[in-house]
Subunit: 339 residues, 2 copies
DNA sequence: TTGTAAGCGTTATCAC
DNA sequence: GTGATAACGCTTACAA
């Protein structure tokens, strides 16, 4: 019932464990005959190498750890998909952990990954994380770590992200070019960098186009119920402002809330009001009307982050000096019926 | 730069590794003074236990492996969420792997998990899996394995699932009770058990209510583009049948396709046609009109499956004889505007 | 071409 | 209360 070991094979063939090990790995200093016999026996006994022992010996686990705020999320599940696929391609396994947007959990998970001696870590910070001792501790121990999407600007490590400000700028500029003049913004919470940057992009686009920034046109969706926030603030907005002709939202789900309100109140999209979302959720091309949105390369981000991380792992192994990279992935606009 | 080990602590304090190990684990046969000193030093040196070494020694990795068809999927990402949360609660880490609906991948991933000596495995089968040698091989090696959702009826292990047939039966019965008489079914591919069972539930509900089963009212959505399948077959259905008054779909995404077609062609829901979906995707309560759907307990399923698995792991360790369980999780109906 | 022996970092047994 | 020693399963100098 116990798993077969090299020792079992060696014993069976009356040779040494060393030879069995070498034979199985195709070393050139083992005779053809022996190799063949070993492989045959391994197959016969249904031998499965014990990675744990290998890991201890070789000091690497061929495993990477990932910490994200939540896996039930359009963007993150796509990132994870990219991570798992790239990792698999390069022979790594992926341990996924969630911070649930809590700094405290993030710290614990980081410790766990360390204990398990993952070869490297990918992390997207929680919304609570504005202090980076726990991250820096990892970095100081020379454990490869790459941040993606929600990064800490002050941390000295490789990062991969999009330019939220620029992406928002492009979306809002598009609206302006289309002739929309009074553009509201349903932004995210006040602290997260993504939320701030998208807001700044919105503001800058207005200013660069000679449209005065009006604070009363900015609504803050700061609890986690984006859909209902969209609905609620749409109502409020239409009560407060008669002539808003477009809305740019921090994420598509907020836009769905607005959409619902408009449908219920016979407000025509895009004739009465245009809607531009962010993150290009699956549903945005399915709802009626289809919602324009900023395309955020989620799968790509996972893939690239993993590539970067594994490169750093290999560099560390070969003692190549580290150079941290900051990769900004391009975004684009999906223009649909709502604008 | 190398991680601190027990040896380092022992050396620092001039005591033995054994004592350090015991002290750190709070064994009663170490003096208070020594314990205190050891813990202090461990903290000072920022000691992190090496799980790999522990794993090798204790023959358990405190890790479970999960194989699912795809992670970018409403149902599965919720299951994974449940798995990760429950595993974490019990001190286990989760390695996630995807089969991409390919039997070949499923086999490979299973082998990988074995090599890494995970303590147990959770699996939801690929649509291609109708032969179970790879699963049985794991079971024969006495590695705890629990199947969920897409299970193999013939495999002798614990399973956790919903009663697809019964759930479909209830949904269609609801439609019939509401007065709908000509009910179409947009089913899934021919081979997957879920798809078959939902179809059978549909058929049985008709028969039990004295409605004749009409094969021409069943449309098969057998490629992976559910949304467009829904749209395409909606068109076809309205061309072929004048008086269909309801549709039951194998999954909500198909229903969204129908919804789109109806919206475009001014077909009123539920007045002209009622729509009942399956799986209760997030969007079903957001689209207009809101779509009725079968609630499948995804998060719960992940949690329960993990609990079951860890129990089996513990039973194995304590040599308690195994008894396989089959857990059928209750479903319910979310009745909304579309019916 | 094959084998011996050391060691990866722990824990468990047993002696002191 | 403490520590020497073996062992978990494997890899790798080095020796034969």
């Amino acid at each position: 019932m116990k798993p077969i070991t090299l020792k079992d094979i060696a014993h069976e063939l009356n040779i040494s464990v060393t030879t069995v090990s070498k034979a199985l790995k195709g070393y050139s200093d083992v005779s053809r005959v022996t190799k063949k016999a070993v492989k045959k026996m391994a197959k016969k006994l249904n031998y499965t190498p014990n990675s744990v022992a290998v890991n201890l010996r070789t000091q690497e686990t061929k495993t990477i750890g990932v910490i994200i705020p939540a896996i039930v999320h359009h963007f993150f599940s796509n990132v994870i998909d990219g991570i798992i696929k790239e990792a698999k391609k390069q022979g790594y396994l992926v341990i996924t952990l969630q911070s649930n947007e809590k700094l405290e959990f993030e710290k614990k998970q980081l410790k766990l990954l360390q204990q398990h001696r993952v070869d490297g870590i990918l992390i997207s910070l929680s919304n609570e994380t504005y202090q980076f001792d726990h991250i820096n501790a990892i970095l100081q121990k020379n454990i490869p770590l790459v941040m993606f999407d929600k990064i800490g600007k002050l941390v000295n490590c490789s990062k991969i992200l999009i330019d939220d400000k620029q992406a928002a700028y492009e979306a809002v500029s598009y609206l302006i070019d289309k002739g929309y003049k009074k553009i509201a913004h349903f932004r995210g919470a006040l602290k997260p960098q993504n939320s701030i940057d998208r807001f700044l992009g919105y503001k800058k686009a207005l200013q660069d186009n000679g449209i005065e920034y009006d604070q009363s046109l900015v609504y803050i969706c700061d609890n986690n119920d984006d859909f209902n926030n969209g609905y609620k603030y749409a109502k409020k907005m239409f009560e407060q402002h008669k002539n808003v002709d477009a809305v740019f939202t921090v994420t598509d789900v907020v836009a769905y809330g607005i959409l619902k309100y408009c449908n219920e109140n016979n407000i025509k999209i895009p004739d009465d009001i245009a809607i531009f979302g962010f993150s290009n959720w699956f549903m945005s091309s399915i709802v009626t009307p289809k919602i324009s949105s900023v395309i955020q390369p989620s799968f790509e981000m996972g893939k690239k982050a993993t590539k970067l991380l594994i490169k750093e792992i290999k560099n560390k192994k070969s003692k190549t000096p580290v150079t941290f990279k900051k990769v900004v992935l391009p975004t684009s606009l999906a223009i649909r019926e709502s604008t």
